[in-house]
């Protein structure tokens, strides 16, 4: 069985007109649907109908969708989630526009996850027949795809065990109080494949979103994104800089509702047999922000 990727992030925004300006014109996402007060977007190199859903009213995360490789994976994950002690409900095709049957549950961290196998195939913006390298008329940053998210939870070890048992995720990096076997787990970076992380969990309040991230190619693209954020008066949290953890190059910034976004490039390839990188608190600043080597007060306190 396999969770292939985070298929969609569904978030609340306080002002839809401002949010559209940000996600369409600054980030360069393509709107695929507007219905029932929600706006659906895909990025240029994604083929499924949507990867970002905006809903007007409030701020923060509504839910994440996870796309699995086989339809049988849905049943398997349902069994494993129930065995873990989580209540699972079935969702029907169309409950989310252009998304098939699946399941929905609330994680031990109190985030809502949906698992599905079918999504309407829209196709990438370059197609599959003798495709060009990128679309000629990208808007703004022109991100190619959704990448990962970071959530907070009061019990990181529990979430790591849950995501291991139910999603077959494995950890690539961890922050813990010491190198001892019984050390307290402060944060963990998890994935199902060679992507360095699909979901990270940080100790903090339940049910909160730290950020969701879009993929970029390299330093040059990250720098160009930051330039565009200045042009569009996007509130930058930090960067361009590098994360010690994952080695990714990054800008953290906020959407017009205050949800934290990231553009993330690089990161080394993950393997299940690669020894896990362990960070301890005295070097946490370097782990998070490799150049400043200090955590700013916003990193752990600003959540939506």
């Amino acid at each position: 069985m396999a969770v292939m990727r985070m298929g969609y992030a569904h978030v609340r925004v306080t002002d839809m007109a401002d949010a559209k300006q940000h996600y369409a014109n600054t980030m360069g996402l393509y709107q695929t649907l507007e219905q029932d007060g929600k706006v659906y977007y895909k990025a240029w190199d994604e083929w499924d109908h949507h990867s970002v859903v905006l809903e007007e009213g409030g701020v923060g995360l509504v839910k994440f969708g996870w796309k699995v490789e086989y339809s049988e994976d849905i049943d398997l994950i349902e069994k494993k989630a129930k065995a873990f002690g989580v209540t699972v409900e079935r969702m029907s095709k169309g409950e989310n526009p252009e998304i098939g049957d699946g399941i929905r549950f609330t994680t031990p961290s109190e985030h809502v996850f949906e698992v599905y196998h079918e999504a309407t195939l829209v196709g990438t913006e370059v197609g599959t027949h003798n495709p060009d390298a990128f679309p000629r008329h990208l808007v703004g940053v022109g991100v190619p795809a959704l990448d990962h998210a970071l959530i907070t939870t009061s019990d990181v070890a529990l979430m790591q065990r849950f995501l291991g048992d139910v999603f077959d995720f494995y950890a690539t990096e961890r922050v813990q109080t010491s190198l001892d076997d019984d050390a307290h787990l402060i944060a963990t970076w998890l994935t199902s494949n060679n992507q360095i992380h699909q979901l990270a969990c940080l100790e903090g309040p339940q049910a909160k979103l730290h950020h969701f991230a879009f993929k970029l190619g390299d330093w040059q693209e990250v720098g160009r994104a930051a330039d565009l954020f200045s042009m569009d008066d996007v509130s930058i949290d930090i960067g361009p800089t590098r994360h010690g953890i994952t080695r990714g190059q990054t800008v953290y910034f906020f959407d017009p509702a205050g949800n934290r976004n990231e553009v993330f490039a690089g990161g080394y390839p993950a393997y299940r047999d690669r020894p896990i990188n362990i960070w301890t608190p005295e070097q946490l600043g370097k782990g998070i922000f490799y150049h400043a080597r200090e955590l700013n007060d916003r990193f752990t306190s600003v959540l939506t």
Partner: protein, 110 residues
């Protein structure tokens, strides 16, 4: 334009029309505890001691509750003063990050 008096420091700052309290303070060379600057995280809440403010954007009720609006809590990154106001920082003090900006701002304060 308006004057913002900040307690407990009693610093008086000139803020341009349509400028938020937080934005005005930054232009005057000051900072305090700041989060997303977009009204989503609630980190920059201060107490509105005197005067009125208007919010330039809708604010989520989870970020600023009705009770907080009534008790004088002010989300400073989205609050635009309606005339002169006095605010009080909460468990925080104003930090001067740039004396030149402060001096330039002082020229507009009589």
């Amino acid at each position: 334009m308006a004057y913002v008096t900040v307690r407990p420091d009693d610093e008086v700052i000139h803020v341009a029309d349509a400028e938020t309290i937080l934005g005005g303070l930054a232009k005057a060379g000051f900072t305090y505890r700041v989060g997303c600057r977009r009204g989503g995280c609630g980190i920059c809440k201060v107490t509105l001691v005197e005067g009125q403010v208007t919010y330039e954007r809708p604010i989520a009720s989870a970020v600023l509750t009705d009770e907080e609006r009534a008790d004088g809590t002010c989300l400073s990154c989205r609050a635009v003063p309606d005339g002169d106001v006095t605010i009080e920082l909460r468990d925080d003090t104003l930090r001067l990050t740039n004396p030149l900006l402060r001096m330039l701002n002082k020229r507009q304060v009589h």
